[in-house]
Each structure stands twice: as structure tokens, then as C-alpha cells.
């Protein structure tokens, strides 16, 4: 059966009436949406009560301990009749009887209706996200992690921080270290010795003691120019590959005009390898009158330029593509047969008679014994050897007349060497054989044979082929041989790697095949290099800067670093024991005198102490000894 429920909502002066048909005799009342009669008021429980329609009235029963008021009397259950008024939290339920039917009229309390929007959170700002707090928290967090904690390492020592999980100065690392410095790991203080002060020259030289100066610093002053440091050319923290400046500007700043830059030098200006670079010069050995050798610089274009090494060696004969006659027929020679690159690829190995010439140029001396050769050596040694050979031959022939050969060859002369001593010719060790030993016949035989052999060798077929045979310097010999010395390094001021040029032919730079005269200097000129190499900005050529060929730290100059040490008295000394200041400059004599006086005072005091200790512990000898030893060891090992 359907029951009518009329819901009346007061809205200001007017009222809204809503009719509800409840199709059950057991209606429920509450806030819940599943209730037969819904009262949309937050304070009303979801399920408040049950109303049972009966023929003679309505029974109302509140759920659980809930109560309501019937005609102003609080009850939990009640039987309602027409005219009763039930109050549920201010909402009035009037029981009416209309046309024999019970009708409920619910007068809803005038609840101030909440706007629908206010039920919901529709804007982000309503969430009260603490942006400002976050902002300052982030700010402080980064300041603390980025500055405060790592900086604490300056006071507590950085290493404990690095060993802990706390942030350390590693987060300040501006870039990866160069490969050669990678071993230092995270020890920033190795180079950055003072905070907020750029790394100094001395910080580098602490390790790089032996690195050489670029020029004679005594002649030109210690500094390069004001403000110059290692960092001008060597910049760290650019990754494992790059640490050395390679641009031309670093050199041409001075070398464009050395005099203007304040350096007096014979060096010519250079700004670009292709555009502006002096022609090559060579450093060539020249024999002086006293037969010593001197290295001098020559212009490679000089028409008068002639290498006088005192060796007769026409390259063209040896480089003949058809071959050159050797002991076993024609041999086609290659440059590499004599000129081998040293390990490292820069210089050439020295050409020696024994290694490179002797296989063809056999030093025979007697046509009747063509297989006999003498070793390559000094003329004096040769004469001794020849005399020995022919004396033995005479001896053999006397013992066995008719024999023209010698069975046993004499021991070859060789240079006697002892470690640490000058080389001495074997001839010095030859036994003096008294002149009157042996017959005059024998002497005549030997002298005659030796003279003939020596003449053949010096004047006709052996020595003279390659050597300049001249008037003797002493009278014991009829011939002299000018010393031979090949220039070992023609261009010592440049670094040229033969290994890097391995794909090129030798003739490309050295015109040896066409050289028919030993005086030819076969070094290439700058044009030869410029075929392929250009300056730093060259187009269509290999871009080469100054340090592609030239070194900055020159072997010929002294070390930049000064090994600073502290002596046993606490004074700074360099590696030679000189008293120096913190820059490594040797102190003037007056200051040295003061230091020495101080040292003497310290020593005097020390010895007084020694005597005092000795007298003190005289009675207990064993203890005294022990103590004395440890005292010496700890106190001043230097004085022992």
C-alpha cells in the first residue's frame, strides 16, 4: 500500500512542497540515500527510525539508542495518532489523517543550505600546498649539502668527510682530471693548497721537479713574464685527454717578435708554419784543426754548405736501382739497410762500419790470402796486427818450408774496455819483444810484408776507399786517417717522428738517390714539410701548430722545479744543499751567515744536552746506552 509523505522545506518567505509516495508499510527514515524518507541534514543519522503504518496509527521506533520527541516528550518508540508531532533533531513530522489515510507531513528545519561547490575541493590552492616552505627547505638543503658540509672539511680535515657518506669536496669537481693526474683521485688539496687562491706554479712543481725551462733563465731572468704560470698552457679538469695548450698564439705571443717581448735572441720570428716561419737550419759537426768536433748552425740553403765528415760515401752508387757490387754479386740496397729508426721513432740509429758496411767492404790485406780480414780499428792497431800476422807466417814457413798459408790466425785486435775507464787500444798491452830476438832475416821479411800490405790498404784498396788518408801526425806511421764523425742530429730544435711518417718514402724528403757527393746535406728544407703541413688555420693541409714539432720544455735548459727540503735545523734547502727562500732562490751570503750562526748555536745547545744526559744516567749503564741510542735516533739523525 502506498502512503503519502509530504516534505515541506521552508525557503525564505515561500516554501517548497514535495510529495513522496512510500510504497511500503515499513518506511525508514534517515539521512541515508537508501531510506524511504530521506532528510538531507548532516546531523541526522543515516538510519534513524522505522515507521510502521497500521490501520489505527503509525508505530515509530528509533534505531538503537536514538531518541526523538513526541509532543515534546523524548521517546525511543511510540504509537502515533493523527495530530501527533514528532521532532527528529528539529525536523517536525506531523501525523495527519486525510481521506481515511495517514499522511506524514515533514517540516524540514530551515537548514542553511550549503552551496554544492563548497562540498568539494575544486582548486589547487585550497589544498594549502606549502610552496613557500618547500622553497626555503630546498634552498637551505642545497646550501648545506653544496657549501656548508664540504666546507667543514677545511676545519676537520677533508679525508674523514670523504670516507663518510656525507657530501665532500668531490661535488665541487669542475671536470674530470687528465689521465696522468687521475691517480690523485679525490685529493683536491694536492693542487689546490689554499682555498680561494688559484693553483700556483709551486703546486705543480712539487711533483714536476725535473721539467725543464724554455730558455736560459739565468740569462733572461727567472720568470717568463709577469703572471705566467703552468696554468697558462696546462689547464686541468677538461677530461682525460686535454691538458696542454696547442694553439700557436701561446708561442707567437713572444716569438712573433722576441726583442719586442723583451728577450734577446738570435732566433728569427715565426707566427705560422705555412705563412711565416724561417727556413730550416741544420746543426752540423765541423772538425777543428785539433781534430775535435764542433756543432755549428748552418742555413740549409747555403750554397757553400758541405758536410765534411771525412767519410767518402756517394749515396747514388749505393742506391743504384740496378744494384751495387757486393761479395756475392749485385745487391739492391734500401735506405733501411743502413738507416734504422731508434725505438720511439724520433732519431736514427748510428751507422757503424761493423753493422752496415763490413758485409761488403771486407778489410782484406793480402791478395794471397783473400779470406783474411783485419778488424776495423785504429791504424796503430792495424800495424801491430799485420806484424803479428806476418811474423807468424814467417814462423810457419820456417817450420814447414813450402807452406804459403798460416794455419792459425792471430787473435784479432780489439778494444779493451773496463767499466768506468777510458777505452784503450789493445796495442798498449802488446808485449815488447826485444829487437835482438830472432834473426835479421825474419825482421826483414816481416817489415817487407807489413809495408807492402799497409801500402795496399792505406793507399790503394781498403782504407782509402772510404777514408781520407793523409800525412801522419806522428812518425811511427807513414799514413794518417782523418777521424770520421757523422752528424747524429741535424735538427735538434725540432721533434720529428720517423714513425709517424712511416707511410712516406724516404726519397720524398731525402734526395739521397741523386747525391753523388758525400758533402751533400740531404736534410729536407721547410718546403718539403709544407707540402703536407700548414699552420694552425691552414686549409687543405694538415693543421700543425708550434708544438707539433717544437717542445717548450727543452732538454738543454735547467729544471723549473727546485726540490725544497727542510734540513735538520728547520731551514729550507734545495737539492744541492743551498739555503734558499720559499721561491727556491738561493739566499745571499749575509743571510746564509746568519743561518750558519744559528745552526752553530743549536748544535752547541744539543751537545750540552748530550753531556747532561750522559752524566745523569752514568750509574745505570745499560739504561743509559738504550736511552742514548733512542735519543740520537729521534733527536737528530742528521748529525750522525
Amino acid at each position: 500500500m502506498t502512503h503519502l509523505v509530504r516534505i515541506i522545506q521552508a525557503k525564505g518567505p515561500s516554501r517548497e512542497v514535495r510529495n513522496l509516495n512510500v510504497a511500503t508499510d515499513n518506511a525508514t527514515l534517515g539521512r541515508g540515500t537508501d531510506q524511504s524518507i530521506q532528510i538531507a541534514d548532516k546531523r541526522v543519522p543515516l538510519e534513524h527510525s522505522t515507521l510502521t503504518f497500521k490501520d489505527d496509527g503509525i508505530h515509530i521506533r528509533a534505531n538503537g539508542s536514538l531518541k526523538f520527541a513526541v509532543n515534546n516528550q523524548t521517546k525511543g518508540r511510540a504509537d502515533l495518532k493523527a495530530g501527533d508531532i514528532v521532532d527528529v533533531l528539529g525536523h517536525e513530522i506531523h501525523v495527519l489523517e486525510e481521506a481515511g489515510q495517514f499522511v506524514l507531513e515533514i517540516h524540514l528545519r530551515d537548514v542553511e543550505k550549503e552551496a554544492l561547490r563548497d562540498k568539494f575541493t575544486t582548486r589547487l590552492w585550497q589544498l594549502s600546498i606549502p610552496t613557500r616552505t618547500f622553497s626555503w627547505a630546498f634552498f637551505l638543503l642545497i646550501i648545506i649539502i653544496g657549501i656548508v658540509i664540504p666546507s667543514a672539511g677545511f676545519f676537520t680535515g677533508m679525508q674523514p668527510l670523504r670516507d663518510s657518506p656525507l657530501p665532500d669536496d668531490g661535488i665541487w669537481l669542475a671536470g674530470e682530471l687528465h689521465g696522468t693526474h687521475a691517480f690523485m683521485g679525490d685529493r683536491c688539496e694536492n693542487c689546490h693548497t689554499v682555498p680561494f687562491v688559484p693553483a700556483q706554479e709551486v703546486d705543480c712543481l712539487n711533483c714536476h721537479l725535473s721539467v725543464n725551462h724554455h730558455f736560459d733563465t739565468d740569462a733572461l731572468g727567472r720568470d717568463y713574464f709577469i703572471g705566467d704560470t703552468c696554468q697558462d698552457c696546462h689547464r686541468e679538469h677538461n677530461g682525460p685527454e686535454a691538458i696542454t695548450r696547442t694553439d700557436q698564439e701561446s708561442c707567437t705571443a713572444c716569438h712573433a717578435d722576441l726583442a719586442h717581448a723583451g728577450y734577446e735572441s738570435d732566433l728569427q720570428a715565426a707566427t705560422d708554419f705555412l705563412e711565416d716561419h724561417p727556413a730550416f737550419k741544420v746543426s752540423m759537426l765541423e772538425m777543428q784543426e785539433d781534430q775535435t768536433w764542433e756543432l755549428n748552425r748552418f742555413d740549409i740553403w747555403d750554397d757553400e754548405l758541405e758536410e765534411v765528415s771525412n767519410l767518402k760515401f756517394p749515396h747514388d752508387v749505393h742506391m743504384d736501382p740496378d744494384g751495387v757490387l757486393g761479395p756475392e754479386g749485385d745487391i739492391v740496397m734500401e735506405c733501411m739497410d743502413c738507416h734504422a729508426v731508434e725505438k720511439g721513432g724520433m732519431r736514427m740509429k748510428t751507422v757503424t762500419m761493423e753493422q752496415h758496411c763490413a758485409s761488403c767492404h771486407e778489410l782484406t790485406f793480402d791478395p794471397s790470402a783473400p779470406e783474411r780480414v783485419v778488424p776495423h780499428g785504429a791504424p796503430d792497431d792495424l800495424m801491430v796486427l799485420l806484424r803479428g800476422y806476418y811474423a807468424y807466417q814467417y814462423f810457419q814457413e820456417s817450420a814447414d818450408p813450402g807452406s804459403t798459408t798460416v794455419d792459425v790466425a792471430p787473435e784479432p785486435a780489439r778494444e779493451a774496455r773496463r767499466p768506468g775507464r777510458r777505452k784503450r787500444s789493445v796495442s798498449e798491452f802488446q808485449m815488447e819483444i826485444p829487437n835482438d830476438t830472432g834473426s835479421a832475416e825474419a825482421r826483414d821479411f816481416v817489415d817487407e810484408q807489413v809495408a807492402a800490405a799497409a801500402e795496399r790498404m792505406f793507399e790503394q784498396r781498403t782504407c782509402v776507399v772510404c777514408h781520407e788518408v793523409v800525412e801522419p801526425q806522428n812518425e811511427s806511421l807513414n799514413w794518417g786517417v782523418l777521424p770520421v764523425k757523422l752528424t747524429p742530429d741535424w735538427m735538434p730544435l725540432a721533434e720529428f717522428s720517423h714513425d709517424s711518417h712511416i707511410n712516406m718514402s724516404c726519397e720524398g724528403c731525402h734526395e739521397a738517390a741523386w747525391s753523388d757527393w758525400e758533402g751533400d746535406v740531404l736534410m729536407p728544407d721547410i718546403g718539403s714539410c709544407r707540402t703536407c703541413h700548414g699552420g694552425e688555420h691552414a686549409e687543405g693541409k694538415l693543421q700543425s701548430t708550434c708544438i707539433s714539432c717544437h717542445e717548450f720544455h727543452l732538454d738543454t735548459q735547467g729544471p723549473m722545479g727546485v726540490l725544497l727540503a727542510i734540513d735538520e735545523y728547520g731551514f729550507l734547502i734545495d737539492q744541492f744543499g743551498n739555503y734558499v727562500d720559499e721561491e727556491g732562490n738561493i739566499l745571499p751570503p749575509e743571510e746564509v751567515a746568519l743561518i750558519e750562526e744559528e745552526v752553530r748555536a743549536i748544535e752547541a745547545e744539543y751537545y750540552e744536552d748530550q753531556e747532561y744526559f750522559e752524566s745523569e744516567y752514568d750509574e745505570d749503564e745499560e739504561y743509559d746506552e738504550e736511552d742514548g741510542n733512542s735519543e740520537e735516533g729521534d733527536g737528530d739523525s742528521g748529525s750522525n
Binding site: R18, I129, F138, I147
Partner: protein, 289 residues
């Protein structure tokens, strides 16, 4: 629309051209610079770009604050915003060149990354401001969100009135659907327009996303009813559909409004972090000079 394009086209895009010019000039300087070491923040150009970049960061941060102050002074608010947006974009170029493309796990790269985050969140904000206010107006047909909510309230009341004459199950489900409709909510609910509405059906609480569950139920009932009841139900369904559409508009509006303001929740705290890391960056550069 005029308002939203104005800061981008302010003064005929004066700051756009300044920003483009700054970016081109610094790029050219970088291209033609021949540093004596690999490009990095420590070359003369690196220091120059770094100094300009640091000043710009502080100035832009101040600008971000300044443009909120409607105080008398030189320049208009629109001008400040225009400068802030364009020069902020130019900063991306300047700072990137300053790094010389050297990055690592350190405070320096942290500063760069934070700066990029700030700029990207700012660009996001520009795009949001360009897009959403117009889209929201389009959506709501120039009505305000409050108006739409009032419309929903009216529809709700109408539905409840109609429900009085409807069978109890329909009345219950309408009551429940209206009562347990949810819009907005927490951060993600707003930003992603989540619909957490539920409806109670046969004693079980079921999801009522897009009011679909309730609508399905009503449509199901339409096959069973006849006569006046069916006619009433048809009217209810028609109005319930209107309600569904209005709720959808409300959710879209909430989402777009949230997205329009969400970038600022990142932009400002990261700016603070950026300034801190900038200070730490400069400190770190000079402590181990």
C-alpha cells in the same frame, strides 16, 4: 584572448627580439671563440657567459616577484612578464654555452639541471596560459564555475522532485547518485580529473564514474516500466544526462585550472633551489680556483 596573447606580443615582441639577439650573439661568440683549452666555464668566454647567466637568473627571479607587485614604477606588468618569459628562454642558450657541454655528477651540473627545470616549467606555464583559459571559456560558454554548480544544484532538486513520484528503487538510486557524486579532491584528483563518484545499488557501493552506473540502471528500468511511470523515467533520464554533462564540464574546468597553476608549484621552489645551487656553484668554482 587578447589578454593571453598580449604578454607574448607585448611591444611588438620587443623582448622576443632581444632574447633572439642575445641567443644569436652568444652562439656566434661560442662558435668563433678559439679558447686555449676545450670550451668550458673557465675560459674567458665561459666566465663572460657565466656572469651574464648568473645575473640573468637573479634578475629573472626578481622579475618573477616584481610582476606580482602592482606598484607604481617603470614598466607595465605585461612588460615584465614578457621580459621574464623571453629572456628566460634566452638564458637556456647562454647557460648551455657557458657549460661548454661539460657535464658531470657535481654541484655545477646540478645548478644547470635545476635551471633547465625552472625554464621548462616556465615554458609549460606559458603554454598552459596560452591554451587553457580560452579552452575553459569555450567549455563553460562564458559561464563561471559557480554558475555551473548552481545549474547542477537546480538539476539535482528537479530530479529529487521527480523522484518522489517514481518507484522507490529509482528514488533511492537518484538520491544516492546525487548524494555521492564527487568532483575535484586532492592534487591528482584535480590534475587528472579523476571521478571518484559512487552509487549505492542493492546495498552495494559501486563506482559511478561519469554517472554511468546509475544511468545504466535507469535505462534498464525503462525496459520494465510502462505508462506514466515510463514517461516519468524518460524525463528523469533526460535530466540525469544533463547532470552528467554538467559534471563533466566541471571536472574538465577543475583539471584545466589545476594544470594552469600546477607549474607554479614547481617553478618557484625549484627557483629557490636553483639560486642556492648557483651560490654553491660560484663558491665551488672559486674555493678550488
Amino acid at each position: 584572448m587578447a589578454m593571453h596573447t598580449s604578454f607574448l606580443t607585448h611591444a611588438k615582441g620587443r623582448y622576443l627580439w632581444i632574447a633572439v639577439l642575445v641567443a644569436i650573439l652568444s652562439s656566434l661568440a661560442f662558435i668563433f671563440d678559439e679558447p686555449t683549452e676545450p670550451p668550458n666555464g673557465g675560459t674567458p668566454l665561459g666566465y663572460t657567459l657565466g656572469t651574464i647567466g648568473a645575473i640573468m637568473i637573479l634578475w629573472l627571479a626578481y622579475l618573477g616577484r616584481r610582476k606580482r607587485n602592482f606598484v607604481k614604477g617603470w614598466g607595465t606588468t605585461v612588460g615584465w612578464v614578457s621580459a621574464h618569459v623571453y629572456l628566460g628562454c634566452a638564458l637556456l642558450v647562454i647557460a648551455t654555452l657557458h657549460t661548454g657541454f661539460q657535464f658531470g655528477w657535481n654541484i655545477h651540473t646540478l645548478a644547470y639541471v635545476l635551471m633547465v627545470c625552472v625554464i621548462l616549467s616556465g615554458i609549460f606555464g606559458v603554454v598552459a596560459y596560452r591554451t587553457y583559459p580560452g579552452a575553459r571559456n569555450e567549455l563553460k560558454k562564458t559561464k563561471s564555475l559557480d554558475d555551473i554548480f548552481l545549474q547542477v544544484e537546480e538539476v539535482d532538486a528537479q530530479l529529487l522532485r521527480m523522484a518522489s513520484d517514481a518507484p522507490e528503487d529509482i528514488r533511492n538510486i537518484l538520491n544516492s547518485a546525487i548524494e555521492r557524486t564527487v568532483v575535484g579532491g586532492g592534487f591528482l584528483d584535480q590534475v587528472r580529473a579523476r571521478d571518484n563518484s559512487v552509487v549505492e545499488l542493492n546495498g552495494r557501493v559501486e563506482s559511478n564514474k561519469q554517472q554511468q552506473r546509475a544511468l545504466d540502471y535507469l535505462l534498464g528500468r525503462a525496459r520494465e516500466l510502462q505508462g506514466d511511470q515510463l514517461k516519468l523515467l524518460h524525463d528523469i533520464i533526460r535530466i540525469f544526462n544533463t547532470r552528467k554533462r554538467l559534471l563533466s564540464i566541471i571536472r574538465d574546468d577543475i583539471r584545466m585550472h589545476a594544470v594552469t597553476s600546477v607549474w607554479l608549484l614547481f617553478h618557484i621552489p625549484i627557483t629557490f633551489a636553483l639560486i642556492a645551487s648557483l651560490i654553491a656553484h660560484v663558491f665551488a668554482v672559486f674555493v678550488y680556483w
